[in-house]
């Protein structure tokens, strides 16, 4: 008995050593990669002379520590605009999600070889392209202003909401669907009575989640001309009024906070 266990224990020790060695090599390579990247991206690329000393940097940073209080009254309207862009954008996004989620759910997609991959492609495109890029596109397409922002938000939200909704639809219990079918209901009635109630809690949660993120996104779309606080931010930066920039950031944080409070209440009431 002792001979057998001794070999087994030694085996285990040897195996652990080898595993540790393998892991160490892996981490070493990773570390080398990181160091190399840091060298290329930061050390070589940065104009250290122009940046100056640590004091210079701290001074530059300190410019943001002041707050331009006089700016706040002028920020109310853009703030409301940003909030509205987020709301309308999310709403429009939900509307275009309806066909997208329908096509993107394996169990109810109308023509699987075509509609399913198409929906999945739309969802991927929507999520892969940054909202700034969408905003640039829509500003070029429909002009400067809030409308471009609404479209950009809508299209950006499609990916996440439709994907989550499609997954919820794919997870439903087929029993109630069979039961409603057996009463002689039409396809639309089957969707409204058997499918929708099953996915609604999840879908609503996803919509609220995305709405909160959209407030954050709407605030900066103005940087490229799509309306809201982003435009004020841009202007303050251009006139080097860094205290004003800080004011804008504070306002953005404030409306994000409002969004969190609202979403908390909505979640509580719909569970």
């Amino acid at each position: 008995m002792s001979a057998a266990t001794r070999t087994t224990v030694e085996d285990i020790i040897e195996r652990r050593r080898k595993a540790r060695l393998g892991r160490s090599v892996f981490y070493l390579i990773l570390f080398a990669l990181v160091v190399w990247s840091i060298q290329i991206t930061i050390i070589d690329d940065t104009d250290w002379a122009r940046m100056g000393s640590l004091d210079n940097v701290l001074e530059a940073a300190g410019q943001f520590l002041a707050v331009d209080v006089s700016l706040f009254p002028d920020l109310i309207e853009p703030a409301i605009e940003t909030f509205m862009i987020a709301c309308l954008g999310t709403l429009l996004g939900v509307v275009i999600c309806i066909p997208a989620a329908w096509f993107g759910a394996v169990n109810i997609t109308p023509f699987k070889p075509v509609t399913y991959p198409l929906a999945r492609l739309m969802m991927t495109l929507s999520r892969s392209i940054h909202e700034i890029v969408w905003a640039l596109f829509f500003v070029a397409a429909v002009g400067l202003g809030a409308l471009a922002g609404v479209f950009a938000i809508a299209v950006r939200s499609l990916g996440f909401i439709a994907k989550m909704s499609a997954e919820a639809i794919e997870d439903i219990d087929p029993g109630p669907v069979e039961a409603i079918k057996a009463t002689g209901a039409s396809p639309i009635q089957i969707v409204v009575y058997a499918i929708l109630p099953q996915v609604l809690p999840q879908v609503l949660g996803v919509i609220i989640f995305e709405w909160e993120i959209n407030i954050r996104r709407s605030a900066i779309l103005g940087l490229v001309g799509a309306g809201g606080l982003g435009l004020v931010f841009f202007r303050q930066m251009n006139t080097f009024n860094f205290a004003g920039v800080t004011s804008v950031i504070i306002t953005i944080l404030a409306i994000i906070l409002i969004g969190e409070v609202v979403s908390h209440f909505v979640r509580k009431s719909t569970i």
Binding site: V34, S37, I38, I40, T41, I42, D45, T46, D47, R50, M51, V57, A60, A61, Q63, F64, I80, E81, M84, I85, C87, L88, L91, T124, L125, R127, S128, I129, H130, I132, V133, L136, F137, F138, A140, A141, V142, G145, A146, L147, V150, R216, R217, A219, I220, L223, G227, F233, M237, F242, V245, I249, I252, L253, I256
Partner: protein
């Protein structure tokens, strides 16, 4: 068919006050949204025409994309730098998330009165500020280049992953943690042996998700001077070289899709490990 029996009560779908509140809230939301359309001057009647014009713009000015413009070594270098910025930002962000997530987790934070609220505030603050704002701020302080980009991405990733990580930690089973505590281990040891093993897999998932988001942001921070292919984008947008812009956007989409395929593969490997 059954006749109306005297004991059958009446039934109304509308229940006061619950139904009133529900319908009232929906109505209020509808009014707000309608007012928003008015406030933002959205021309509902011209909307469909606009969509048609959008299609025209796409077909005429953005097609065909000027692929030759981006198929050169200079652009490829920018692409590589974008990738490097992204994973450095994600890496540093995740390194910072380890302690920050711990401090921001209500169940194992070292001090519920002082450390916890500060950590939560920091996480929320870093997360609430959009990554583009971080980029602009750091470009202002440090000048153009990839350093502000990496720092901006780091700040963003710390907030992003920090919240998710703290939530994962708060969801663990406290049993093993108490067991380690009972052996007399100090707080750090409790975290390493009691908490980490439980959240290891979830953390890997969070890491992959963070990489996805970081990469997507890295492709655009260059627009504001923080290094990477976004710089190319800005130049061509300003010069209204729409076919080149189309090519750059195409390259961004392709890269992000490749990155997502890699992430999906990595995530499935992680799921198998579970």
């Amino acid at each position: 068919m059954a006749t109306h029996s005297p004991t059958t009560p009446n039934w109304n779908r509308f229940k006061f006050p619950d139904s009133a509140i529900r319908w009232g809230s929906w109505f209020a939301a509808f009014v707000f949204l309608a007012y928003s359309v008015e406030y933002l001057n959205i021309p509902l009647d011209r909307l469909l025409g606009m969509l048609g014009r959008m299609g025209d713009t796409l077909a005429n000015r953005y097609y065909p994309p000027d692929i030759d413009y981006i198929m050169n070594a200079d652009y490829m270098q920018y692409v590589v730098e974008t990738v490097q910025m992204a994973y450095l930002g994600a890496l540093f962000g995740l390194l910072l998330t380890l302690p920050l997530g711990w401090f921001a987790a209500h169940n194992i934070t070292p001090s519920r009165r002082y450390v916890y609220p500060v950590a939560r505030l920091v996480t929320m603050g870093f997360r609430a500020v959009h990554e583009m704002i971080w980029a602009i701020i750091f470009v202002t302080i440090l000048g153009f280049g990839m350093l502000p980009g990496v720092i901006a991405l780091t700040f963003f990733c710390t907030g992003f992953a920090g919240k998710l990580f703290a939530e994962e930690i708060e969801a663990i089973d406290m049993g093993p943690v108490d067991a380690i505590k009972a052996t007399g281990a100090n707080l750090l040891q409790v975290v390493i042996f009691g908490v980490l093993p439980q959240v290891r897999v979830a953390f890997t998932g969070i890491a992959i998700y963070t990489w996805d988001v970081a990469f997507r942001a890295a492709t655009v921070v260059g627009f504001f001077g923080a290094g990477g292919m976004g710089w190319y984008l800005k130049r061509n947008v300003l010069q209204i070289e729409t076919e080149r812009v189309a090519a750059i956007l195409l390259s961004i989409v392709v890269l992000v899709i490749i990155s997502e395929i890699v992430s999906a593969w990595a995530r499935s490997r992680v799921m198998k490990m579970k």
